[in-house]
Amino acid sequence: MRDTLAPKAATTTVPTSPRGEGILIEGISHFYGMGESAVHTCDKISFSIDRGDLTTFLGPSGCGKTTLLKIIAGLITPSGGRIVIDGREVRGPGPDRALVFQNFALLPWENALRNAAFGLELRGVPKEKRLKAAREALALVRLTGFEKAYPHELSGGMQQRVGLARAIATNPQILLMDEPFASVDELTRRTFQEDLEKLLLAEKKTVLFVTHSIDEAVYLSDRIVVFTHRPARVRETVDIAFPHPRSEVRLTTEFLAIVDRLWGLLKEDKVR
């Protein structure tokens, strides 16, 4: 369909940053299940992520991008390959990373404040200290005044803000976000994206963001990694150079051109 594209399933080269900083994904393969019924989700994925960048994993639903994110989180052990963060190999979850879940994963029996403090609670941070950090994190996600509210009293978007606050409160270097806006409505999604953008400008964290929304990917990312359908391979890596904040950029021809180009990449994969 388009001839301007890089060859299919390109790249097994591993670009490394000179100081060994950032995240290195080296030949990650993964199968779900055993034997003949095993599903091949990731196929020798290799690329690197610079520190402080927001990198989006973009691909069709169920392509294996969430699996890759969970491998980086240390929740899933890959069948092959390794993840190296700042020169150290990932062997499980660690305090340098915090995950934001698609379905929020809040404790229904705790209020927003205690939920936001829960990551720190599990790490044994004393009560006073963790509640203070949680209060600050809730303020960052604009939930001041809702500390006492329980998850079932909050809207989906607000619940996800609590989920984000819980991750931020642990002060991780790397924020892993698994389709965080998939379960909230479009309007909430937009405001949340803009809030997240502002927040990340202030906090300067490395962010990995899984989505299947092209518009969202272009709006938020410094770099987009496009995956093929299962098994996931790196289709192409696209750098997005618009300056932040980008709320003005959404309708420019340059923005739309990139959206269109990514759409082409994904569509071609579907047709194939």
């Binding site: 240390g74 979850p93 995950l99 404790l107 029996w109």
Partner: protein
């Protein structure tokens, strides 16, 4: 494991009027009273006679002692059942190996007619209060295990994953996530366990040692003192309902976020 409370009561609003549930109870008592007054059979004395009989026997030593003795045995057996049932249920729900060894037995005992085991309990624990305690335990234990186990198994994978991602230890996972998330099922199990435990108490008292309520029931039955017999039975019913409602109250208080 979704169960609904049977306690909220059906609502019936003739002509838009709100009629309290108590009216249904009073109506039943009225019918009983009329049937009793018709002297159909001596097995059904008028309801007022039962109330009078209750007033008569409630102050007697035999009655008070029976109630105290029964409640002691019940409290003992039930607390052991709750604590151990909870522990085993949590372990079965969490560890495949424990599940493998225990689940068939738990299922067997869940299905077993417990009353048939009472003579065995008597043979093992002797004719005395220990047997009653064991019987209460046996009646109550398994449903608590099964509900706790189901509760732990049904905890959302996302919550477990969240715990792991923030580095929860095994004990943190158990205490702060699994146990709390399984609370709705656990409390349902305890409520059912309490009702079964009372059943066990009565069965034990009648079959093993003729003591407590069992003694009262047996004595009044053989004496054909129907009014007194019903008075005792209604006491047991009221007790059973009160205890199960008390757990139900905790349930509604504690599980405010709604069942999954």
């Amino acid at each position: 494991m979704k169960r609904t409370h049977g306690t909220a009561g059906a609502s019936w609003r003739p002509f838009g009027l709100r009629i309290p549930g108590l009216v249904a109870v009073l109506f039943g008592m009225g019918v009983w009273e009329v049937v009793g007054r018709l002297h159909v059979t001596f097995l059904i004395p008028p309801f007022s006679d039962i109330v009078l009989a209750w007033v008569r026997i409630a102050g007697r030593h035999t009655f008070v002692d029976s109630v105290v003795l029964s409640l002691q045995a019940f409290a003992m057996g039930e607390s052991i059942a709750v604590v151990s049932g909870l522990l085993l249920g949590l372990l079965i729900g969490r560890y495949k190996a424990v599940e493998y060894f225990f689940e068939p037995w738990i299922n067997l005992f869940m299905a077993a007619p417990m009353s048939a085991l009472v003579p065995v309990i008597m043979a093992l624990a002797g004719i005395g209060n220990t047997s009653i305690v064991v019987t209460v335990f046996m009646f109550s234990f398994f449903v608590i295990v099964v509900d706790t186990m189901a509760g732990v198994k049904h905890v959302s994978p996302a919550l477990k994953e969240m715990g792991r991602s923030f580095g929860a230890s095994k004990s943190q996972m158990m205490r702060k996530i699994l146990f709390r998330a399984a609370m709705p099922e656990i409390l349902t199990g305890i409520r059912l366990g309490v009702v079964r435990g009372i059943k066990g108490m009565i069965v034990g008292q009648m079959l093993i040692a003729v003591v407590g309520f069992g003694y009262l029931i047996t004595t009044y039955t053989y004496a054909f003192a129907m009014a007194e017999l019903y008075a005792v039975i209604f006491t047991v019913l009221a007790l059973s309902m009160f205890l199960s409602e008390a757990v139900g109250l905790i349930e509604r208080r504690y599980v405010f976020w709604g069942r999954r």
